[in-house]
């Protein structure tokens, strides 16, 4: 392991760990899982000992693979949870204020609107929102860099349409 690699790794970590974490946290809806996945991705990059051509895209790809593996395991966990759902301890219930309810409804609707999009559009919007450049997004999604703008316009419109349909329906 060279000092040059260590420095490059530290710079990359400073530059990218936050955006990767935000991306996977939003995508999975599970901040603890996002932390595990992003940490493991950086660990694998460090163990690799040399930088890939496009480190940010490499990290996202590795993290996606880890997330996919976790989702496979999650199917099994879901089965276990469904068995126990009626027995899980409940938190102390307190009456929610209207503002809290509204905010939580909006968050839930954002999740639902994202879920309505094709997976590629969902990832596209969240990658961009997390600060990834067009070139990096294109690499991750395996599309031409010149098409990212067009895809973003369409995905944004679909997302907002879905959000207002759902939110209007629930309001």
């Amino acid at each position: 392991m060279t000092a040059g690699f260590d420095q490059a790794f530290a710079d990359l970590f400073a530059e990218r760990s936050g955006s990767l974490y935000r991306y996977f946290s939003a995508l999975s809806g599970d901040p603890a899982l996002a932390e595990d996945i992003v940490q493991e991705s950086f660990v694998r990059l460090y163990r690799r000992g040399r930088m890939p051509d496009d480190p940010a895209a490499w990290l996202v790809s590795v993290a996606h693979n880890l997330w996919r593996d976790d989702r496979r395991r999650d199917v099994r966990r879901s089965r276990l949870l469904s068995l126990r759902k009626d027995e899980l301890p409940t938190m102390g219930e307190s009456p929610a204020t209207d503002a809290t309810t509204l905010a939580s409804e909006r968050v839930q609707t954002v999740h639902q609107a994202l879920a309505r999009l094709p997976e590629r559009d969902r990832r596209l919007l969240l990658l961009r929102h997390s600060g990834f450049a067009y070139r990096e997004i294109a690499e991750v999604l395996d599309v031409a860099p010149g098409s990212i703008g067009t895809l973003l316009v369409r995905a944004s419109e679909s997302f907002r349409t879905a959000f207002y349909e759902l939110f209007g329906a629930s309001a």
Binding site: G18, Q39, R77, R106, V107, L125, A133, V153, R160
Partner: protein, 236 residues
């Protein structure tokens, strides 16, 4: 494209996102200043991007808790462990040759030396049948597999700040360590067990008769039995 041609939506979005080369961005802005249709479309796309960003900002993602030192420490530990395993494999190869020529006594001493240096586990072994427990240092994940369900007995599971996964029983049972963890050969047994799981171990499953009764993933524990949600589970 000439500066007078209407730019496509994708380019306008790239302009909004600051993803165009400066010269092209200037061309588009000059065009939009003279073309009311493109100026209006640019505003729409700006509003759409802004609105989407505001909605996505609602997602509760928080600040990254990741720390560089933690990541590097973990990565280095993993590298050391791998280096230890490679060294052990090379040494074992030498041992097998030496063992064939000068006897197992030397091989045993070399194994012990390698074991001390690399801190790896000895090869899988069946503990004698009258064992009342077992302790071993697992890898990143471990399965504790009970061959069969029991008519009697309990599993008492606890997290502990130790490196070893420990199983104790109140009656003799045979244990076998393998690459996945440990198998408890319990047919016909009515023993109760206490299992201490290292708190730092990322993934542990306890399986009884082919059914997962408890799983620890990171700090989360999911129990999958029909009993109350405690960490005392029937072995059935």
């Amino acid at each position: 494209m000439s500066s007078s041609a209407h730019p496509p939506d994708g380019e306008l979005r790239a302009l909004v996102d600051g993803e165009l080369p400066a010269s092209r961005a200037l061309e588009l802005r000059q065009h939009a200043a003279q073309c009311s249709a493109c100026a209006a479309r640019l505003r729409e796309i700006e509003q759409d991007a802004l609105g989407t960003g505001q909605l996505l900002d609602l997602l509760p993602v928080g600040e990254s808790p990741l720390e560089l030192q933690v990541v590097v420490r973990r990565a280095r530990r993993a590298r050391l462990r791998r280096a230890g395993l490679i060294a052990a494999a090379v040494s074992l190869f030498a041992v097998s040759i030496a063992g064939a020529t000068v006897g197992r006594g030397l091989a045993g001493r070399v194994w012990a030396m390698v074991h001390r240096r690399s801190r790896i586990q000895p090869p899988p072994a069946v503990v004698p049948h009258d064992s009342m427990g077992i302790a071993f240092v697992p890898g990143m994940e471990a399965d504790v597999v009970f061959d069969t369900k029991q008519d009697h007995g309990q599993l008492r599971v606890a997290l502990a700040d130790t490196a070893e996964l420990v199983i104790r029983s109140d009656a003799p049972v045979a244990y076998r360590i393998n690459a996945q963890g440990v198998v408890v050969h319990n047919p016909g047994s009515g023993a109760s067990y206490e299992i201490l799981i290292p708190r730092a171990l990322p993934h542990v499953r306890i399986v009884v008769g082919g059914r997962v009764v408890l799983e620890k993933v990171g700090p989360r524990i999911v129990a999958g039995t029909d009993s109350a949600p405690s960490l005392v589970l029937p072995v059935k």
